[in-house]
């Protein structure tokens, strides 16, 4: 199989950030999701929520420069900004479980046709960590998952049924992979955008469920 162009991590993060609407409260998981904070579309005001109890904080500081009592969920120090507030865990997950967080972006191992997500345990490892993933996947209004479209061995991650342990059922609304943007709808998975140079057929070949190709399906737009 020839190696076609795939989006890198930063570009995936850039595409994800386009989804953030004015006034959204957004929770970003570690990895690619947290990079999306750097690409908020110009002029939009977005509030970041971190499950360890801060809302409306600023950018990640340079290493070693921040206040250890002001960190995001990945443990990275962040800057304070006007309007920020602090709270404890029961309150933080009241926000998450109660649907007060508009968007959560997290990584995934597998996403099923129905929007089931598996992202807390690689079965071979036998031991995983649930953390706040199940709460976020269950509670937020809109869950965006970002992951590579296939495993290192070329096996589909976009599957009919997850074979990995489930994080939450019917939770994924949008999937941003290194080759496609897919919306999860009641009718099935809709292919909305593709990486440059890809055809719907090529994306389908790496995808287990049958994709509905959006009439308007086009190359991924980043701006």
């Amino acid at each position: 199989m020839d190696e076609k162009f795939k989006l890198d991590r930063q570009t995936m993060a850039l595409r994800v950030a386009k989804e953030f609407q004015d006034g959204d409260v957004v929770n970003l998981g570690i990895g690619i999701p947290v990079l999306a904070a750097n690409y908020i579309p110009a002029g939009r005001e977005v509030l970041f929520h971190s499950e360890n109890g801060i809302l409306g904080f600023g950018e990640i500081t340079a290493p070693g420069e921040g206040d250890p009592d002001l960190v995001n969920a990945g443990g990275q120090t962040v800057n304070q900004q006007p309007g920020m507030c602090c709270f404890g865990h029961a309150e933080s997950f009241t926000m998450i479980r109660g649907g007060h967080v508009n968007v959560s972006v997290m990584g995934g191992y597998q996403v099923s046709e129905k929007g089931d997500l598996a992202n807390w345990l690689v079965p071979e490892r036998k031991i995983g960590t649930i953390g706040g993933a199940m709460d976020l996947a269950t509670g937020v209004k809109r869950l965006i998952v970002t992951m590579n479209h296939v495993t290192k061995n070329g096996e589909p991650r976009v599957v009919k049924q997850c074979s990995y342990p489930i994080t939450a059922l019917n939770c994924v609304k949008l999937l941003v992979t290194d080759i496609a943007v897919i919306e999860v709808t009641e009718k099935g998975m809709v292919l909305k955008e593709m990486a440059p140079g890809w055809t719907p057929e090529e994306v389908q070949r790496l995808t287990e469920p049958t994709l509905i190709v959006d009439p308007d399906c086009h190359e991924i737009e980043l701006m």
Partner: protein, 262 residues
């Protein structure tokens, strides 16, 4: 007699913790939000077969020393010294680092009850608030549901989650007064605020003890009635000279700087 919840030493603060106790430990996982010196005192006391309730099971003091923390012990001090029989935690292992808890778990030397983070907070709160249980949607259709009662309410499936009761809660706060009123700093409230008052006895480690009245009525986060004992960190810490850091910790720290931890 004036109320005075301040005790003189960390050893005194934990003196009645017995073998087999269930102990909540506040914080998120970052050492800044962890009651490090209380954990050291528990380890010094040498209690056995304890059940811990905490968000993580610790990363070890090395990773925190690299980052310049003076008080660098986290849950790992109880793990590596074999005090723990069972851990109730949401994030017991790391994806970038094999912590000591994972090693013990793989060796069958410790039990684990993994609980989604928000459910952990809610179960702790249920104990604090005198609730018999709460119906939580999180975990429905997953391993979390196994062995638990479920109920469909208003068309949605919920799991009955029971209170987590404990004998002691070890809390890290920023300031306290003699009534036990507490304030925290920044993102370090975490499970500290939630667990304060959720156990039979709540013991608090603070950066500073202040006069009654210095913490204003609108800014107190944890009212004193949830707190039994308060002990202050020493202001001056002896320099340890050159700090030895394991190669594993250094590598883990490099990866952390790249992408954040978990």
């Amino acid at each position: 007699m004036p109320i005075n919840k301040i005790v003189a030493s960390f050893d005194e603060a934990v003196s009645d913790i017995q073998d087999g106790a269930t102990i909540m430990v506040g914080g998120f996982g970052t050492v800044a939000s962890t009651p490090s010196l209380l954990l050291e005192a528990v380890a010094r006391k040498g209690v056995k077969n304890i059940t811990t309730v905490s968000n993580t099971t610790g990363f070890g003091s090395d990773v925190w020393k690299i980052m310049g923390h003076k008080f660098a012990e986290d849950m790992d001090i109880l793990v590596r010294n074999g005090h723990i029989k069972k851990a109730i935690a949401s994030a017991p292992v790391s994806t970038i680092y094999e912590n000591n808890f994972e090693k013990l778990l793989r060796a069958g030397k410790v039990e684990l009850e993994m609980v989604p983070q928000g459910t952990l907070a809610e179960r702790v709160r249920a104990a604090k608030a005198g609730l018999g249980g709460v119906y939580v949607p999180v975990g429905a259709g997953t391993v979390v549901e196994e062995g638990k009662e479920t109920k469909v309410i208003d068309g949605k499936k919920y799991i009955l989650e029971l209170p987590i009761k404990a004998d002691f809660a070890l809390i890290k706060a920023h300031k306290a007064d003699r009534w036990g009123n507490l304030v925290y700093r920044g993102s370090s409230r975490t499970f500290n605020e939630t667990m304060a008052g959720a156990a039979k006895v709540t013991i608090v480690e603070v950066d500073e003890i202040v006069e009654l009245g210095e913490l204003g009525p609108e800014v107190i986060v944890t009212p004193g009635l949830y707190v039994d004992r308060v002990v202050a960190r020493p202001q001056e810490v002896e320099e340890e000279g050159e700090v030895e850091i394991s190669a594993e910790a250094r590598e883990s720290h490099e990866r952390f700087l790249k992408r954040g931890s978990a």
